[in-house]
């Protein structure tokens, strides 16, 4: 039942563990990178490959761990991740969210999320959804049967092909941000006129702050 207010419809992959931490999501050796993109190939690196990864490697030459669920043929094109309790615990690094997005995930559904990770998701446009364990179990079944899962963010409902599975809660402001495609910067930029106005006055009041630095020194 394709809904007009669908935020995302796709295939889910279950990662049935509690406490998946940011070090597991993206191991520390990849943090030296200067990029926000390109982390996808090392998402869950220690689980996905049989050898130890390091930055700058050609991952196509590495031996893949066929047991790991993301590598199983039937889950290869998943873009919804389903997990259990306390997903994203550990450090505040945004690299974890960047990795999930870069891999192609649009939505992460879990029983609970670590606080900072949850915030970081919204800062980067990845939708985190909290459901209870019974609802999660239902979704896990659907994922296993390769049924499409549909997320209606507007009405905060998750559907399967033929029925409604669950309602979910989300802060109205954050919902608006995700729906309108506004990240923090975008949102602040809706105040551009006020910033310009403020800046104009600041230049008048304290002009020495605005000297062209290149002319000095």
């Amino acid at each position: 039942m394709k809904n007009t207010s669908t935020f995302h419809a796709g295939q889910a992959v279950p990662l049935e563990r509690d406490n998946i931490d940011t070090d597991q999501i993206i191991p520390k050796q990849f943090l030296k990178s200067i990029k926000k993109s390109g982390f996808g190939q090392n998402l869950f690196d220690a689980w996905r490959y049989e050898d130890e990864g390091f930055p700058g490697q050609d991952v196509s030459l590495r031996k893949v761990n066929k047991e790991f669920i993301l590598n199983q043929d039937k889950f290869l094109d998943s873009d919804i991740l389903i997990s259990k309790k306390n997903f994203g615990c550990g450090s505040s690094r945004e690299h974890a969210v960047w990795s999930l997005l870069d891999y192609g995930f649009k939505v992460v559904i879990a029983e609970s999320f670590a606080d900072i990770f949850y915030n970081n998701c919204f800062n980067n446009g990845l939708l985190p959804i909290v459901l209870d364990s019974k609802e999660i179990d239902q979704l896990l079944d659907l994922a296993d049967q390769r049924q499409q899962i549909e997320i209606d963010l507007e009405n905060q409902i998750i559907f399967s092909v033929d029925s409604e599975i669950a309602h979910f809660d989300i802060d109205p402001f954050r919902k608006k941000c995700i729906l309108e495609g506004l990240d923090e910067i975008g949102l602040s930029l809706t105040h551009s006129e006020q910033i310009k106005e403020f800046e104009k006055n600041r230049i008048l009041d304290s002009p020495w702050i605005f000297i062209d630095e290149k002319e000095n020194g």
Binding site: S188, H191, I195, E199, I209, I211, E213
Partner: protein, 464 residues
């Protein structure tokens, strides 16, 4: 209505309140280094945005630069990944026409040393940098805070920081310091008293006669470690000392504008009767030279003290890591390495303070390595003009090129496994200065005197 200095700085910069009840605070100055900026520039590009106001941004590489041979420039950075971070900073600055003091520039240095030194840090400003020790700049009556990479991008794109208001704390250090007791000891003593979370949610204004009589360099040392007390910002009121420090700095206003500026800056003090949510008063004359014995800056004690009985698991763990037992006298800790440097203590005054003690003396033969790393190319130049480099070298120190160096050991300057180091930096976390390294935070004077002794020594005895 009376306002605190923090409130005044806030009011000068509040642009608006967003729908989510956070505020947009206008940012006058944005300092950039190589480690936390690449993803922010990349994010900007991916979103098709460009920096709001180019001239607000100033960059310099510091964390990854080598402190030995600088003649090779970029080629002297042997870790390819580290080099790429520095090159990326170069590229981003070129692309956006951002002023950078690059690896070849004689003004290059630790970002928190360079800003004030160049007059890029001016009273009344809001300053941010993707680095927690941005609190340093508060010494010049600015509101300065460290930010994360998403926020770096946000500031680049909007010239604003999205933030909430902090509470006001005042730490008053009254009386007069004893000879040999320095700003580093003051800031460590404050952390020892309020703890590393004591300032969480606050901006700390440092005041009292000790601060009033302190140089700007000293005030920067104090504000630098506000973050180790948990506070995102440290502040000191504007006064004649501030004015004298800024006058004639390269980027400071000149002529008419200077007069206009100092007239405006006069108001950058907390009004009489302004309200502080928390007040701490410390008698300055009671502060002894400080030494940390554990793996958190709050695990600090007087030089003539002994390691305390552990009262928590984290204390036990710290003693284990440091290979120390309770009851052991601080003065009995043997040292392997000495590090004088970092954004806390690498300014000309710090080097003078250490050189004064080292002059005509040799460091102990038991010290494996002692290095001094000036905070910037200009600090280095000044020190050389004053002959300080010679004093250090004669005494057995290695004289290095400017950068963060062994403060966080991202470049090759590192402690060996198990080595004890008297360090003038700001964090004694496990492994911070090298895998298995054991850091003791001290002042430059204590580091120098202890280098001569080979173990910790009370610099007050040393100078009398």
């Amino acid at each position: 209505m009376s306002y605190t200095l923090y409130d005044k700085l806030w009011n000068l910069h509040e642009v608006t309140q967003r729908a989510d009840n956070t505020y947009l605070l206008y940012i006058d100055r944005h300092l950039i280094h190589e480690v936390t900026s690449p993803q922010a520039f990349e994010g900007l590009k991916l979103a098709g945005r460009s920096p709001w106001r180019i001239s607000a941004n100033i960059a310099t590489p510091d964390h990854n630069v080598p402190t030995t041979d600088r003649s090779k420039g970029l080629e002297g950075i042997y870790d390819e990944v580290a080099k790429l971070q520095v090159v990326t900073l170069d590229d981003n600055c070129k692309e956006h026409d951002i002023l950078q003091f690059d690896i070849h520039d004689r003004r290059q240095g630790i970002v928190h040393v360079v800003g004030p030194e160049q007059g890029l840090t001016l009273p009344g400003m809001t300053i941010v940098c993707g680095d927690s020790h941005t609190s340093t700049h508060g010494a010049l009556a600015t509101l300065s805070m460290g930010i994360g990479t998403s926020e770096v991008e946000h500031v680049l794109a909007t010239q604003c920081l999205k933030t909430s208001k902090l509470k006001n704390m005042r730490v008053t250090i009254s009386g007069e310091l004893q000879d040999g007791v320095t700003p580093k000891d003051v800031t460590l003593a404050v952390i020892g008293q309020i703890g590393t979370a004591g300032g969480t949610g606050y901006a700390i204004e440092y005041s009292g006669s000790v601060i009033e009589n302190m140089s700007i360099e000293g005030r920067m040392t104090v504000c630098n470690m506000a973050i180790e007390a948990g506070a995102r910002a440290g502040l000191v009121a504007y006064d004649k000392t501030t004015e004298d420090y800024i006058r004639n700095r390269p980027f400071a206003p000149k002529g008419e504008k200077w007069l206009e500026a100092i007239n405006q800056w006069k108001d950058l003090i907390s009004d009489k009767g302004s309200y502080f949510d928390k007040e701490i008063i410390i008698d300055g004359s009671s502060i002894a030279p400080q030494v940390t014995w554990g793996t958190s800056p709050e695990m600090v004690i007087d030089i003539d003290g002994s390691i305390p009985e552990p009262t928590s698991d984290s204390m036990k763990h710290a003693l284990d890591y440091m290979n120390l037992e309770s009851g052991k006298r601080i003065k009995d800790i043997r040292l392997d390495q000495i590090f004088i440097g970092s954004c806390t203590n690498s300014r000309i005054e710090d080097l003078r303070e250490a050189a004064k003690i080292l002059e005509g003396k040799k460091i102990s033969s038991t010290i494996k390595r002692a290095i001094v790393v000036p905070g910037s190319g200009l600090v280095s130049k000044q020190a050389i003009e004053e002959g300080l480099d010679e004093i250090f070298i004669q005494s057995g120190f290695e004289w290095r090129a400017p950068g963060c160096s062994m403060c966080l050991a991202m470049n090759p300057d590192q402690l060996g496994d198990g080595e004890h180091c008297a360090s003038t930096s700001n964090r004694n976390f496990e492994g911070r200065q090298g895998y298995g390294g054991r850091t003791h935070l001290v002042s430059p004077a204590t580091a120098a005197a202890s280098a001569i002794q080979g173990s910790f020594v009370d610099v007050r005895d040393f100078i009398s």
